[in-house]
Every structure is written in C-alpha cells, then in structure tokens.
C-alpha cells in the first residue's frame, strides 16, 4: 500500500510549538522573505506543498525554488523509530539550509511516503516517486528488504537517471552489480560492521559466535558478513536462530534463545530491528544466556535501549551484555565539528515526526530522542547531499548527479573521516564505532576484554 502525504498536519503541529508559532505569525503578517523561506521549506519538507499549483507535476524534477528528494521509509510499524529519527536528523540540517537561502537559491524538500518497512509498499512508493512525483533523487530509504526490492525499479527507469542516495542499510545489493550503479552509500556496510564485531570477539577469546537474525534480505546480509568474517579466522558459526520481520518487543524469543543456548556460544551477533533484538536480549538474560549480545547499526540503539529500560528497576542488569556497532561517531563526541553542528541544530529545530504522512499503520504514538545515532546519520546524509547538490550549480539536472558525486574527493564532512567517491567507490565512509550502554545512552567502548571478560 502506498501512502501519500496529506495536508495541514505539519502547520498545525507547528502551532503547538512556541518557536514556530513565531515564524508562522511572521509569515501571516507578511514581514518578509526571511521568515517565509523557512516556513515554506518546512511545509515542503513535511510534504505540504507551499505552492499548490506545483503539485502533480510530472515533467520537471527541479523547480526554480526547490529541489524535491523522494523518501520511502518506515514511518509506521515496529521500525517506525528508524524512519522517523533518520528524517528528523535530515530535517534539522535541511531546515538550517533552507533558512539560509537554500542551495543556490533553491530549498531542499522531502516528499515522504510510508512503506512500514515492507518491500511491496516500498516498490509502489518508488514507482510513485519517480513517475508521479518526478523527484530529483531518492533519499534516506530505510532497510534492506525494502531497498533490495526497490533497486530493480531504478534499473527499469535507468533512462531517467534516478539515483538512490544514502539508504539506511549496510547490505550488499546496492553496493554490488547489477544494481550498485544506481545507488550511492555513505555509511559503512554490514559486512564491515559484522567483520569488526567478529574480529573483536575473537580477539578476546570469544570464538564461538552465533547469529540471531531477521529472516529476510537484511538478516541474510548480516549473516553472510559474520560467516565470511569467521571463515577468515578459520571458524564457523556456532549456531543461528531467526525471527520474522515485524516481530514486536512483546513477543517471546524463548525458542530462539533455547536454540542458541544448545550450541553454547560465546557471543551472539544480532542482525535485526530494535523491537525483536530488544526482546531477544531480554529473554537471553532472563533464560541465563549471559554472553555479549551485539547489534549492528540498523538496530536503532536508542530505541532498543528505551524498550529494554522501560519500567524496569533492574534495567542495567538487562543491558550489561549489549554492544552495538555504529557507522557514525558518538553524538557525545563534541570534538567533531559535525557532531557539534548536529547537536546545535537538533536543539534549535527539534524536528517533530512527520505527523501528516498517511501511515500504513496509523495512530502509533512515537516519542522522539533529543539525539540518536540514527538522527545523526540522517543529519550527515543531509549534509552531504546538500554539498553534492551545491556542486551541481545553478541548474542541477539528474544527468549531472553522478559526475557531481564523483567530484567529492577527500571531503571533510566533520565526522573525523574524509569522504571520497569514484566510479569504483560508491560508499563514502568506512569507519565502524563500537558502543555499550551506560545508563540511558550508548557510549564508546574502549576495552573489549575488560567489558566482556572470558571466565
């Protein structure tokens, strides 16, 4: 089921927020273009077109005053936190850009469609974004099973040169033939994340590594990464257990825990979404599987931790064995310019969830996080795409996108690692960061052996 953005919601939401109320008042009283730009940008970014006459266009991809990025992501369902936080992080930066005149005079807006982290709606949304909405490019897609199915759509419309930028997945299909040429990635891959986790576990003597994974393309991608990494060390997987995509935190994972317990692993690497991974970590602890439980970046660390801590007096005991790999640095590391900017803009705008997206599963409340790894990734994605569009000059065309991306060489994004693209390099960042829970936050892990000693 495809969803389209309805009208009105964002503006109404903004009325409830004191800072934005001021901006709306400014626009209403006609006090000038300085205030009108952010107002229009926000409505556009949230899907409400400030100029109704431009809706339904099919030919042009870039208007005189804006560039539309098409987004299909999970804004409902068990993974809604990922799509929402990624959007919020990007919005914080786009709001800032639009407030300052946009890119070469054009605002950047996002056209949002909800796919609920389901492949079929994602395919339908992608077709709609390309055919009906004529977006300039696709941006911030969430998930492997969704992106994997959307890639053939890009190949189908290859003559229109529509590229997918910075999907929130580390899977291989958008990094390799036959679809790699249609996507540009920023984050490191699951192969890199799982290799890092395996290397670290093996380095501290935890050689029996098992995998708990979502039984779909995403889980398989991570599973394959663990398998390859273990093979490099001459090891094989100690065991594996699966769960169905969309499983909620309330579900029991006893069966999965028992399957893995029977294999006596030293560590478990989870390739899943936060609801199921939190349920697994909870049940593993409850059933006496006291070994490190690692998660990859897609899990959404803050969402996972919030679920596991909710209403528990012994929350720390339940999260003590968690270790999560990240593809962006810690949002606590204010020595990095991008992190400082992110924190400042998130605090300034505090972007709300897109309340006017027509959701596949409506009526689900969502509580945002002041900062999170996912929103930081969304922020960094927005920062780089803005730079790429800026480099395309006054008249950006789809045909010039690839050239503009390949022109990004040794670009300092402010995350401690320079970004570089080329015909044979379609992934900008390579670094992996490891974090463990400390109270209500994930902090960098410095000492693996000290944290997870082998008894």
């Amino acid at each position: 089921m495809t969803t389209r953005i309805g009208g009105g919601g964002e503006g109404e939401e903004r009325q409830k927020r004191p800072g934005t109320m001021t901006r709306r008042s400014l626009v209403r009283s006609g006090l000038g273009a300085l205030a009108a730009a952010p107002w229009a940008g926000r409505l556009g970014a949230a899907g409400i077109h400030p100029y109704p006459g431009l809706r339904g266009r099919t030919a042009a991809t870039v208007q005189d005053d804006e560039i539309v990025l098409g987004v299909s992501a999970a804004f409902s369902g068990p993974s809604r936190g990922l799509g929402t936080e990624l959007y919020r992080g990007s919005m914080a930066y786009f709001n800032h850009v639009n407030e300052n005149g946009g890119v070469n005079g054009r605002r950047i807006v996002m056209k949002l469609l909800d796919d609920g982290y389901q492949p079929d709606p994602c395919v339908a949304n992608t077709i709609e974004l390309i055919q009906d909405e004529s977006v300039f490019l696709l941006f911030n897609y969430v998930g492997t099973p969704t992106v994997t199915r959307a890639l053939p759509v890009l190949k189908k419309f290859r003559d229109q040169q529509v590229y997918l930028f910075f999907p929130f997945t580390g899977a291989e299909p958008q990094r390799e033939p036959p679809y790699g040429e249609f996507a540009f990635n920023l984050r490191a891959s699951y192969r890199q994340e799982t290799a890092g986790l395996v290397d670290n576990f093996l380095s501290i003597g935890r050689r029996r590594v098992a995998v708990f994974y979502q039984n779909d393309a995403y889980g398989r991608s991570g599973w394959a990464g663990v398998r390859e990494a273990l093979a490099r060390h001459g090891e094989t997987m100690a065991g594996e257990a699966t769960y169905m995509r969309g499983t909620q935190f309330g579900a029991s994972m006893r069966g999965q825990v028992e399957i893995l317990q029977a294999r006596s692993p030293d560590a478990v690497i989870c390739i899943g979404a936060y609801q199921a991974c939190a349920a697994f970590a909870r049940d593993a602890e409850d059933l006496g599987l006291h070994i490190p439980v690692a998660n990859v970046s897609f899990v959404g660390s803050e969402n996972l931790l919030a679920l596991m801590r909710e209403g528990r007096s012994d929350a720390d005991a339940h999260t003590r064995f968690l270790v999560n790999s990240q593809v962006v640095p810690s949002y606590e590391d204010t020595s990095l310019p991008a992190v400082r900017e992110y924190r400042e803009l998130m605090a300034r705008y505090d972007p709300p969830p897109p309340d006017n997206v027509e959701r596949i599963t409506p009526g689900e409340p969502y509580e945002t996080f002041p900062q999170s790894f996912v929103s930081l990734e969304g922020f960094v994605n927005a920062k780089l795409i803005t730079e790429i569009i800026r480099r395309m000059g006054d008249n950006p065309q789809r045909s010039g996108i690839e050239e503009a991306v390949f022109a990004v060489r040794d670009y300092d994004l402010g995350v401690g690692e320079r970004v570089r693209y080329g015909p044979d390099r379609r992934q900008g960042l390579q670094m992996i960061y490891y974090t463990v829970p400390e109270g209500e936050r994930f902090v960098p892990l410095e000492d693996w052996e000290g944290r997870f000693p082998v008894s």
Binding site: E172, E176, A217, G219, T242
Partner: protein, 258 residues
C-alpha cells in the same frame, strides 16, 4: 368376502413389489455415487498431489535458474529476497538453498532450521515426504543449481493444505453426486408411482368385479377407457366376469327349472 380379502392381499403384494423396486433404485444410485466418489477421491487426490509436486518442482527449478548469478556473485541478501518472494505462494511453506558442500546459504525457517532438515541429504532432489515437529507434514522437492555444482534448491509444500484442497475438490464432487442421488431417488419414486397407479386402478376394478356390484363398476369406469395394456386387461376382466356371471345366471335358472 373371501375373494375381496384375497384381492386386497394381491394389491398389498403389488405395493410391496414396487417398494422393492424403489429400494432397488435407491441402492443402485447409492452404489453409483459411492463408486464415483471413491474414484473421484482417488483421482483428484492423485492429480492434485502430482500437480503440487510438479508445481513445486517448477518453482524449485525457477529458483535454481534464477540463483546462478546471485550465488556466483555471493549475493546472499538478494538470494534471500528471491526465496522470500516465492515463499509467499500459497502452499509453499519453506524453501532452503544449500551449497555444493551442503552448507545452508538461505532459508525461510523460523526460529531455526529443523533437525530433520539438517540431518537430510542436502543434494537430494527427489520428492520426499517430511514430518517436521511443530510445523506439520510436507512434501519436499529439490532442484540442482548449475547441475548441482553451485548447490541445490529445496521447496517444501504443505501437505495439510494439500489435504484441505483435496477435501474441498472431492467435497464439491460428492456434493454434486448427492444432489444427483436425491434427485434420482425422488424421480424414481415418482416414476414408480406413475407406473403403479394404473395397476392399482386395475386391481381395484378387479376387486369391484369380484364383489359383483354393478353400481361400484361405474366408479372405476376410467380404467375401461384406457387405450393401453391396463385398459385391455380391464376390459378382458370385465368380459370374463360378465361371462362368468352369465354362466352362473344360466346355471341358476336351469337349477330353478328342476
């Protein structure tokens, strides 16, 4: 009086005769329906099962053909995505792909690969029936990928769902046959009644003749005007009765002359 009773018994005997005929029709229809049902269950079950196996073999072959490049590119996420789409087909309950060394490269099992599957021959391609605890009964077929050097695709079809399909198909046929049976029995009863009514009329007329009451004869006059065998018999009976009556009257008259 004695003659009347005798005639009455005769009527009763005729009705019994038709009751047996009706029972014979019913039994015959029943046997036909039963035989057709058994034949139908057997053939539908066999054909549906064959079709299931054939379909799953086609699906396994389709996956095997589609998997070659994906496997050679070591793109297991795409491979998983591929089998996830096929497993949405009704009655396919599981798919797994093993490498040429027997390693499980992709599968659809939750929460894990059953021990029975782990213990089976990963390169086997012939159709086998499996009973997996907690999952149900399946018929599994396999198809080699690149003649087996790249691995094997295995597709499991749900036998319970197959059973339900067979039940539904056979049920529809048996339902139709039952309607034919009931209609046939009702029609046979109606036809037997139709056939027995003139005989009953004839018997009633014969009883009237036996009573030798001229007044009663007129109430059964219809049977005499029939242009069929019953009418012929009635007229013959009347002739005989008249003849016998005449002879009796002559005998009485002669006796009276003595």
């Amino acid at each position: 009086m004695t003659a009347m009773i005798q005639k009455g018994e005769e009527v009763l005997r005729v009705r019994k005769l038709f009751r047996k005929t009706r029972f014979g029709f019913f039994a015959l229809f029943g046997i036909v329906v039963l035989a057709i049902s058994i034949l139908s269950i057997s053939s539908v079950s066999r054909e549906l099962r064959d079709e299931y196996v054939s379909n799953s073999e086609s699906i396994a072959k389709n996956i095997a053909d589609s998997s070659v490049d994906i496997l050679l590119n070591r793109n297991l996420a795409t491979l998983q995505s591929l089998i996830d789409q096929f497993v949405q087909i009704e009655s396919i309950r599981y798919i797994y792909i093993t490498s040429d060394t027997g390693e499980f490269l992709a599968h659809t099992f939750i929460p894990g690969i059953p021990e029975e599957i782990l213990a089976s021959d990963p390169s086997a391609t012939e159709a086998v029936e499996r009973s997996l605890p907690g999952l149900g009964d399946f018929v599994e077929v396999g198809s080699p990928i690149l003649s087996g050097v790249a691995g094997t695709v295995h597709v499991g079809m749900d036998l319970e769902r197959l059973g339900l399909k067979i039940q539904r198909a056979v049920g529809q046929q048996v339902y139709l046959l039952c309607i034919i049976l009931v209609t046939g029995v009702l029609a046979s009863i109606w036809l037997v009644n139709l056939a027995s009514r003139p005989l009953t009329e004839l018997l009633e007329y014969v009883v009237t003749l036996a009573r030798d009451k001229e007044s009663d004869r007129s109430t059964h006059g219809d049977v005499l005007v029939r242009d069929d065998e019953i009418g012929d018999m009635a007229r013959m009976m009347q002739y005989v009765a008249d003849d016998v009556g005449l002879a009796r009257d002559e005998g009485t008259a002669a006796g009276g002359g003595d």
